[in-house]
Amino acid sequence: MKQDIFQAIADPTRRAILTLIAIQALTPNAMAEKFDMSRQAVSKHIKVLYECELIKPEQAGREIYYHFNAKKMQEFDNWLLQFRQTWETQFNQLDKVLATIKEQKK
């Protein structure tokens, strides 16, 4: 199942991973070391972040480095902006409906 990006970034460890790799791409082993976690725990977080496309793997020799996918975060922010616009538009419509009802009651 496709991961929900909201769910992915709600977890503090995953946010910390994102913050870290936004600065520098890391291998899973390096992440495990920095966060003092088992390799297995790191793999779980990577899977979630990868499935919602917040991180991208890149092979370098025998190692896989994970990069932060800033574009995906931007998409998410755009979606939030769009969601905000939806509400704004609806509420402006409601202003008119309320004004009409008030007028009718007079």
């Binding site: 990006i5 709600a10 509400w87 409601l94 409906v97 309320l98």
Partner: protein
């Protein structure tokens, strides 16, 4: 129209929560009705050029509103809102989810909490949405959301013009 009315939109990514606050230039009873009566909801609760059509609505705890958002080309996207708590003219909570046309919800959805208060004839509505799912929003059919952002921008310009004419 009063342009000093508050509109606040806040996202807490860590808490998976979106908070929307808006003031309306009307008394509490009227605003409460606008959020809880289907004949008024259908007049505003979809962003133009989309419109919404409520098939049925039982505003009571355990009841639900089954409605469609209809795009200009006639595509229908069904939604189900189940009322989980109601304190008249103060608060109501619902569980919002997309659904198929046979009322089967597509889970997970999101929890919506509405608070109402009035001061000096201005009613403040505060809506908290917990875990609105991006994947769900993306699952809305193509052309439904994507093309429609552009339409929204066009419309905004149009609305500004027409509301000036109405003054």
């Amino acid at each position: 129209m009063n342009n000093n009315l508050l509109f606040d939109f806040n996202v807490d990514k860590a808490a998976k929560t979106i908070t929307i606050t808006r003031e309306f230039n009307a008394n509490l009873s009227l605003v409460w009705d606008a959020f809880t009566k289907q004949e008024i909801l259908d007049q505003w609760a979809a962003p133009a050029p989309m419109r919404c059509k409520t098939k049925y609505m039982n505003f009571e705890v355990g009841g639900q509103r089954f409605f469609a958002m209809i795009s200009p080309d006639g595509q229908e996207r069904w939604l189900l809102q189940q009322y989980t708590s109601i304190t008249p003219k103060t608060n109501f909570k619902l569980y919002n989810s997309f659904a198929d046309k046979d009322e089967n919800p597509e889970l997970p959805g999101s929890e919506w909490n509405h608070n109402f208060s009035e001061q000096n004839g201005v009613t403040k509505v505060n809506i908290t949405i917990f875990n609105e799912s991006l994947a769900r929003m993306e699952s809305m059919s193509d052309g439904f959301i994507k093309g429609y952002t552009i339409m929204l921008q066009n419309l905004e310009a149009l609305l500004t013009v027409s509301s000036q004419k109405n003054l």
